[in-house]
């Protein structure tokens, strides 16, 4: 039905009244132009950052990605430290956030009494509405002291002495740092991941679940062996969506990461991420090469998040097709 509507040219669907045809033609072009603006915005963003970061890439070459030096005074820039920080904090956020999101989605769709499903789901979604700078302030003033007083000393005492893993949990309980940032990021991406999971869990055909129950499966077995495998693609899509958010999150991380150009194995140490470096330094960056290096970092972030988000979208679309939308 919709196909027919789309392919029907305006001229045949309206009687040959000149004003109508002209109006239709103008309207079509206006609307198309606005659609193209969206497309152009993405291309222009990529192009402008490529343009801006060109001189940094030209000056430092491939070493821009592998080097660790970041010295505005000497005019030497290499991005490995912020890249490392972005990857580590996002990885931590995923390690913490994905299981929790899965738990929340399962709780809302399978466990909770019907009456509280809506309110609980709505409350979790509210987390997504809180501006990220509020997460940052809460992280800096409330959560970081909590971490340094209660959580980090325990981690350092218990996990510090263990060989290999111990190195991750050594050092002073500063509060701010990789681990705290990872946790704050996890809280921020939980609503996105869990709402995707919840939506797809809800559309698993009841016959599948009922058949499994009839064979004597427990509730958890139904979730593990029926619901999750059936929605696998979309679940991974949701996780990627969360990852895309975590990689580019700026304000919260800027508050709690510590902003020191520092690569450390310990998760207790402060560091910096691409987004935090941009937020802190860009407005003050005085010379062109400095600014260009920051833009180049932005381009790297843009390319990585684009790939991650595109993969997420492809997976979610595939799931929607399967459902026959």
């Amino acid at each position: 039905m919709s196909e027919a509507l789309a392919t029907m040219p305006a001229a045949t669907s309206t009687p040959p009244r000149r004003t109508g045809i002209l109006g239709d033609r103008i309207f079509f072009w206006i609307v198309t132009a606005c659609g193209l603006i969206v497309l152009a915005a993405l291309l222009a963003a990529a192009a402008s950052m490529l343009w801006g970061g060109l001189s940094a890439f030209r000056t430092f070459g491939f070493g821009f990605i592998t080097g660790t030096e970041w010295d505005p005074v000497a005019g030497h820039f290499a991005g490995l430290v912020p890249i490392y920080g972005t990857l580590v904090t996002s990885a931590l956020a995923m390690i913490i956030g994905v299981p929790v999101s899965l738990g929340i989605a399962v709780f809302i769709t399978e466990v909770a009494p019907r009456a509280i499903r809506g309110p609980v789901g709505g409350a979790i979604e509210l987390l997504a509405g809180i501006p990220s700078i509020i997460y940052g302030m809460w992280g800096l003033f409330t959560f970081a002291p909590f971490m340094s007083d209660y959580v980090q000393p325990i981690l350092i005492d218990w996990l510090g002495p263990i060989p290999l893993i111990g190195a991750l949990f050594s050092g002073a309980p500063l509060g701010i740092g990789m681990l705290t940032s990872g946790i704050v990021l996890a809280v921020m991406i939980i609503p996105f991941i869990s709402s995707v999971m919840r939506d797809v869990f809800l559309v698993v055909p009841p016959q599948l679940k009922e058949s499994a129950y009839a064979l004597g499966s427990t509730k958890w077995e139904v979730v593990r062996d029926i619901v999750i495998p059936h929605t696998r693609t979309a679940v991974v899509g949701g996780i990627f969506l969360g990852l895309g958010r975590a990689l580019g999150e700026t304000m919260a991380v800027t508050f709690v990461l510590g902003n020191t150009h520092n690569i450390a194995i310990s998760l207790m140490e402060p560091g910096t991420s691409i987004a935090a470096t941009l937020a802190n330094e860009f407005a003050e960056a005085s010379d062109d090469l400095y600014r260009s290096s920051l833009t180049a970092l932005g381009l790297i972030l843009f390319v990585v998040t684009f790939i991650v988000l595109a993969a997420a979208k492809v997976m979610l679309v595939r799931m929607a097709r399967q459902r026959g939308e």
């Binding site: 993405l42 738990g103 509210l126 501006p131 302030m137 004597g216 427990t218 958890w220 958010r245």
Partner: protein, 285 residues
């Protein structure tokens, strides 16, 4: 034989119980964080709230008193600019996706790109607008800030408009077209009218989204210590002031930051809850 199968069954039941309890704990954890964050903002924010907040300018460091009047005004102006620029573009682009590109590759591509823009890092938008406007004009300005916000505003409106128009039954389009009404009139007078609540909700949601955005304003609007309505100059705005004041060592600045954070969070959350409840009612019908 019978006893071993009961013990297996019991073990599976126990496993299920443990797993589902963990799910409950995960949910509780999420809610704890929500309450903790809102509680912190409420506690610090209410303590710092005073009428001076909207009557006085941002104070110099270390000085008592002062408010956020210039920042509120700046935010208001820039959000307004973003809405004015973004609404027509967003609604029309949404119309294109829903009405004029069905089954076409171009439409699919734009929808795909729009969804990516929807979750793209907002600091990237800041960089982009810096290259686009700040660098050519040679200065930070309220215009640049408003345009940066518009880039975040548009994808949200495109998405909701597209979805809301697609909810309008095809029968209505066919009925209107069969009367010989030109297509643009059908779109404006029939489709927009029946999807108006949904489209408006999308705009409100988008306003909620951009009101709290900080990253794109950091190097577009920058900040301004004084009262200014001149959009061609750097402009104070709530998120950047909060950022600057919260990171400072001065207590009065930190208090003001909390007050601003409280007002902003309350505004954003109320707006998004109200508009979401509209949307849900619409979707539930």
């Amino acid at each position: 034989m019978a006893s071993s199968s009961t013990s297996l069954y019991r073990r599976r039941q126990l496993g299920s119980l443990i797993a589902l309890t963990l799910c409950g704990i995960a949910t509780a954890l999420g809610l704890v964080f929500l309450i903790w964050i809102i509680w912190t903002t409420l506690l610090h924010g209410l303590a710092a709230l005073s009428p001076a907040l909207i009557t006085e300018m941002t104070p110099p460091p270390g000085e008592d008193g002062g408010g956020l009047a210039n920042a509120f005004m700046g935010s208001l102006l820039m959000v307004f600019l973003a809405v004015v620029i973004g609404t027509p573009i967003g609604v029309l682009a949404g119309t294109f996706l829903s009405e004029f590109s069905r089954g076409k590759k171009l439409g699919e591509t734009i929808r795909f790109v729009n969804d990516i823009l929807l979750s793209a890092p907002s600091i990237i938008i800041g960089l982009f607008v810096y290259e686009l406007i700040v660098r050519p004009t040679g200065r930070f300005s309220g215009f640049a800030g408003g345009i940066a916000l518009a880039f975040i505003f548009v994808p949200v409106v495109v998405r909701t408009t597209d979805e809301m128009l697609r909810l309008v039954p095809d029968v209505m389009r066919e009925a209107a077209l069969s009367l010989g009404i030109p297509r643009w009139k059908v779109t404006v007078n029939v489709l927009y009218r029946s999807a108006s609540t949904g489209i408006l909700t999308g705009i409100l949601l988008a306003i909620a989204r951009i009101s709290g955005e900080t990253a794109p304003l950091l190097f577009t609007a920058l900040n301004n210590q004084y009262w200014s309505l001149d959009m061609t100059q750097p402009m104070a705005n709530i998120p950047v002031v909060i950022f600057q004041f919260a990171m400072s060592p001065y207590e009065q600045w930190q208090n003001l930051a909390w007050a601003g954070a409280f007002v902003m969070t309350a505004f954003v959350l109320i707006l998004s809850v109200v508009s979401r409840s509209f949307l849900n009612r619409k979707g539930g019908k």
